[in-house]
């Protein structure tokens, strides 16, 4: 059976899921950004390992893009944004940390339960990668749902996208054009979100999304 290639892939994928949980667990803004950067670095390592295992050199480019944009540029830019916005250092969560983590664990279990029967005839590496990628996506969604602060929702969105890239590289034969276009669309989305953050702050003096509800008259 698959020996070391599988073990290392398993280690990196498991590390990615663990870092996703750590993103959920963090309650400080700057630590959150550091964990997000680590998330992207692990993602690029996992993609590079996939490139090596599948002997698909174009995946190295994907890994490089992930490392440069998501591991360095976006965290640094977010860091700057947080500094300029002057938002609070601690993050307000809608639900407490404990229930959120339990929910996250349940989501991981769900994605494993869903993915295992569906990918019955795929090989063992792809099966595991898809299960982990789905759980990273679900954890990113959970993070977007449970956080009030817009910046941490952006981080949730970005980590969700990390999961998508991970799934794409796990599936064999994904053309490079698709991956590059996905990466750039995320970059554009990031720029748009950054502008929106400043607009929200200008308007409401906060980036807590509760303020938006109030302006629509949904909450007193």
């Amino acid at each position: 059976m698959a020996g070391l290639p599988y073990d290392v892939a398993h280690l990196l994928a498991g590390g990615l899921v663990l870092l996703s949980l750590m993103l959920l667990y963090q309650d400080r803004m700057y630590a959150l950004l550091s964990v997000f950067a680590a998330h992207a670095v692990i993602l690029s390592l996992a993609v590079a390992w996939q490139a090596y295992v599948q002997s698909a050199p174009h995946l190295y480019i994907t890994a490089l893009i992930a490392l440069l944009f998501k591991g360095m540029i976006i965290p640094v830019a977010l860091h700057r944004i947080v500094q300029q916005l002057g938002v609070g250092r601690t993050i307000e969560a809608v639900v407490g940390v404990g229930p959120t983590i339990l929910l996250g664990i349940a989501l991981i279990a769900l994605s494993i339960m869903v993915m295992r029967p569906v990918t019955e005839q795929a090989d063992v590496l792809t099966r595991e990668d898809l299960a982990f990628a789905l759980s990273v996506v679900l954890l990113g969604l959970l993070m977007m749902v449970t956080r009030r602060n817009a910046v941490s929702q952006v981080v949730g969105f970005m980590s969700l996208e990390n999961g998508l890239i991970f799934a794409a590289t796990g599936a064999k034969g994904m053309p490079l054009v698709v991956e590059i276009s996905v990466a750039f669309s995320v970059l554009i989305a990031f720029i748009v979100i950054g502008i929106f953050l400043f607009r929200i702050r200008e308007r409401f003096d906060t980036v807590e999304l509760v303020a938006l509800d109030q302006s629509r008259g949904e909450q007193p």
Partner: protein, 318 residues
Amino acid sequence: MAMIAALAIQLAQMTLVVAIAPLLLGWVRTIKARVLRRRGPSPLQPYRDLLRLIRKEAVLAENASWLFRVVPYVTFAAIWVAAALVPTFASGLLFSWSADMIVIAALLGTGRFFLALAGMDIGTSFGGLGSSREMMIASVAEPAMIMVVFTVSLLAQTTQLSSIAAFMAGANVGVRVSLALVLVALLVVALAENARIPVDNPATHLELTMVHEAMVLEYSARHLAMIELAAALKLVLYLSLIACVFVPWGMAAAGDGIVAYLGGLVAYAIKLAVGGVLLALFETSIAKMRVFRVPEFLGVALMLSLLAVLLLFVSRSP
């Protein structure tokens, strides 16, 4: 003849864990003092403390029930049996068929249950406070411990510690995320269970922080000696458990010669010494947590061990 030898080795193991428990405690204290650039007492000081306590007259509160007098012995016995079951220098001992990880968790739970009862028996406020805090910690630490047990036994296909050690020393373990997660979870649980620094400080008597000390505040003399010895034994137990599951090398197997057993003893001594140094370094480099942050800290252990169990299902089947 083989039976007698096996029995002798099992007895040696039982006495060894009790004999070295205070030494390990003293060793950790010495290293901690050295790291803080103090001289510190001799590593043998815990033995002197125990002797002094045993010589003193026991003072009981007026409203102490029989439970209060029995609990030190019950707790000590439960923890001693658990510690004697963990393979230390040799695996495949006479009683290793009963050295089940679930049994060990249950024995530790029994010891804790009786200690918490005794804390409330006298009816002082401190005892109740300590007991309730201990239970708060236990309610998260025990599920985490059980999950650790499940992960390791799912991997090794057995709950017997000797077989687990043999499996871990074997070649077909591979690189597992689950094992790394479980190791961290077990370390966190061990810190909490032994009342070490991020959770509880065994050296203070400050009422805001103490957990274990508050529970046993009313004890004196030989009762206190039993409880202190049991606490020291627990530390030995957790270090042996971690050593047995994660670094099982150098352990003598059943039916080995005397050289293998001596080698096992040396390896075990080295493992304990290294574990003590690491514990002391960790304790001096970190600050005590607020009591209400402890469930969060232990929640990390629970989360890691749950995740480890989950990840086992997608990993390569052994």
